[in-house]
């Protein structure tokens, strides 16, 4: 073996070795909103495991629902010289100044789950979010496919009035309903995304619709309201999942329990895995210099009773929902 060949071999070995080594050195600061909901907790858990999978050192700062804490966290990440910053913005405005600081320090910023005002468009690398209009549309398509040509009276449990995700999930569902003459939303009221209000509103829907006999389906903007609505239907002597179809959004563990019991039919997942695609984008950006698209849309996956709900429940229950 000549010295030249030996040198070449070492060089090759060094480069192949250095690839994972670069990844191992990546440090990412994640400014998380706080523990506002079970989904948020699951997102934090999944972010940790996704980072560990890619050998990325992830530093999570909990902002306790306060923008000022997030701004402080970003400043400290910049001071520490991290390789990238993930930000789940608690509000959509007021980020320009601090994101400019990150940009000047040449630290790429990735938005997770929520977007910011268009004025900050140039200040972040990419945003990983789900399309909540699409989620509503997936729910609507499932219902349209399941009922076929049969006439179907639907009641809708909306999220909090004024929340963009509620407006979008309504818009997506309505767009499908508009295409199918047999589907009709007969009642729509807000359940504030909570179980208690979902139950209360469903109770009134059942009474207003003659004991619920004329109802064909319930659409809820989140699973928690549906869990409440299912209880209301059971107490009124209806059989949710059979007499009345159910479709909701989020895919939290408890809806899979209801699905396994035959009391819920379908849910559209809002994946808690926003960090996975974001980490992939950062690793590609840092490693090969590939600029990711401005918006990375996560999949809005549909789950039904055919997807072994108990298995999904077991895989999700440890995530902190």
């Amino acid at each position: 073996m000549t010295i030249k060949a030996l040198l070449a071999a070492t060089a090759l070995a060094a480069t192949t070795l250095s690839l994972p080594a670069v990844a191992a050195e990546l440090t990412v600061g994640f400014s998380q909103i706080g523990s506002e909901s079970g989904w948020r907790a699951a997102e934090t858990t999944v972010s940790k495991s996704e980072a560990a999978k890619r050998k990325v050192n992830l530093k999570i700062a909990d902002a306790q629902q306060k923008q000022e804490n997030q701004i402080k966290a970003i400043r400290s990440f910049v001071a520490q010289g991290v390789d990238a910053i993930f930000l789940a913005p608690v509000v959509s405005s007021g980020w320009d100044a601090v994101l400019k600081e990150a940009k000047e320090a040449k630290i790429p910023v990735v938005l997770l789950d929520r977007d910011i005002d268009p004025s900050g468009k140039e200040l972040y690398l990419t945003a990983v979010t789900s399309d909540s209009v699409q989620e509503g549309a997936v729910a609507g398509e499932w219902l349209a496919k399941t009922v076929g040509a049969k006439a179907c009276n639907v009641v809708e449990l909306q999220g909090t009035v004024g929340a963009s995700v509620a407006a979008n999930r309504k818009k997506g569902f309505d767009s499908v309903v508009a295409k199918h003459a047999n589907l009709k939303v007969v009642r729509s009221q807000t359940g504030d995304f909570t179980r208690a209000k979902g139950k209360e509103v469903m109770e009134s829907f059942i009474k207003a619709e003659g004991g619920g006999k004329s109802l064909c389906a319930v659409y809820a903007h989140n699973d928690d309201m549906m869990v409440g609505a299912i209880q209301a239907m059971k107490e009124a002597g209806l059989k949710p999942g059979k007499d009345v179809l159910t479709v909701s959004i989020d895919a939290v563990p408890d809806i899979f329990k209801a699905m396994a019991a035959g009391e819920a039919n379908a849910t559209v997942e809002l994946t808690p895995n926003m960090a996975g695609p974001a980490l992939d984008a950062i690793i590609a950006y840092k490693g090969k210099g590939t600029t990711p698209p401005k918006w990375i849309q996560t999949e809005s996956k549909l789950y039904t009773a055919a997807d072994d709900p108990m298995k999904v429940y077991d895989s999700k229950k440890g995530l902190g929902y």
């Binding site: 523990s35 506002e36 909901s37 079970g38 948020r40 907790a41 909306q158 009035v161 009642r187 729509s188 009221q189 807000t190 504030d192 909570t194 179980r195 208690a196 139950k199 209360e200 509103v201 109770e203 009134s204 829907f205 009474k207 207003a208 003659g210 928690d224 869990v227 409440g228 209880q231 107490e235 009124a236 002597g237 408890d254 902190g320 929902y321």
Partner: protein, 327 residues
């Protein structure tokens, strides 16, 4: 005296009847009742059943307000007691879970009472502390998740029935009778009113105002804890983020609609209950009406304004003057 007492409740009762009549107009089946699985079923029952937590809160709140105080922490106390009860129900048995939950409520009340009566902190500030911290404590207990349980005895508290009447309604009636017997069956009610009317004069007259104030906050805490247990039993889970959220405001509103002044003094337990029913009859009516949810809060505000105007003594005398001028 008798005449003035009867007149006192008139505005509230008329308001309740008018709201129920409006509910009947927007929803023709409003008064329909039937039995479903041994439980009365109908919109009227919903009003009573859904109104139970706020009714319980206002039962404690009315006593606190009578002493010229206010308790902003009741919603958070609901979240704490619900979280405790739900966390313990399946592992340690229902009686212990509920006992600990109610005990926590007493402790919260004692804390509020201590700050107000012993340290002399203004009630709105003193109870604000627990309003903020309490929800955090509840979230710590549940770790931010919705803790569910299956213990049938616990679920019964929310969904069961006694002779067809939902258990929460029975609990409210029971608490009303107990509270009424204690404060009106003895001089206690009078002493509470005296404390609220003029604390210094009462003190000089030999009333233990500190003990009075401490007692009403403790009772308020207990009522809130009971409401929290019912709310958890209702959805078979404890939702620390949302249980009792903003209900302190509904409870204060119920007390005010019930004609008790925020400046303390004279109070009425029954009219506070009527106040809670007015709020819930309105909420249920809005849900039954089928109006878009964007109108909910506006309608609610308008109705509350009208009910309060009905009670305004100045408006009544102005109306009477106008009437005399015309005739």
């Amino acid at each position: 005296m008798t005449f003035s007492l009867q007149r006192r409740g008139l505005a509230q009762i008329i308001a309740l009847l008018v709201i129920l009549a409006v509910d009947r107009i927007v929803s023709p089946q409003f008064f329909d009742l039937r039995l479903q699985d041994g439980r009365l079923f109908g919109s009227l029952i919903d009003v009573l059943n859904r109104g139970a937590p706020v009714a319980l809160l206002s039962l404690g709140m009315v006593l606190v307000i009578a002493t010229r105080g206010i308790d902003l922490s009741v919603g958070a106390v609901m979240a704490i007691s619900g979280a405790i009860a739900a966390s313990l129900a399946d592992s340690h048995g229902v009686p212990l879970a509920i006992a600990v939950a109610l005990g926590a409520g007493l402790l919260c009340g004692l804390w509020n009472g201590f700050l107000v009566a012993v340290l002399g902190i203004q009630p709105i500030v003193a109870t604000l502390i627990l309003m903020v911290a309490g929800r955090g404590i509840a979230q710590l207990i549940t770790e931010g998740r919705i803790v569910t349980f299956t213990a049938p005895d616990f679920v019964w508290l929310g969904n069961g029935a006694v002779l067809g009447v939902p258990v929460p309604v029975v609990i409210v009636l029971g608490m009303l009778v107990i509270t009424g017997a204690v404060v009106r069956g003895s001089a206690l009610g009078l002493l509470i009113e005296a404390t609220g009317g003029n604390a210094r004069a009462s003190e000089l007259a030999g009333i233990g105002t500190r003990a009075m104030i401490l007692a009403v906050y403790v009772w308020c805490g207990l009522c809130a804890a009971l409401a929290g247990v019912i709310a958890a039993a209702d959805i078979m889970g404890a939702d620390a983020n949302n249980a009792g959220l903003w209900l302190e405001l509904d409870a204060i509103l119920a007390v005010v609609i019930g004609g008790t002044s925020l400046f303390g003094g004279r109070f009425s337990l029954v009219l506070a209950m009527v106040g809670a029913l007015i709020i819930q009859a309105m909420n249920t009516g809005i849900l039954l009406s089928g109006y878009p949810p964007e109108f909910n809060l506006v309608v609610k505000a308008a109705v509350v304004l009208i009910v309060l105007l009905l009670q305004s003594p100045r408006l009544a005398s102005a109306g009477a003057a106008l009437w005399r001028a015309r005739s």
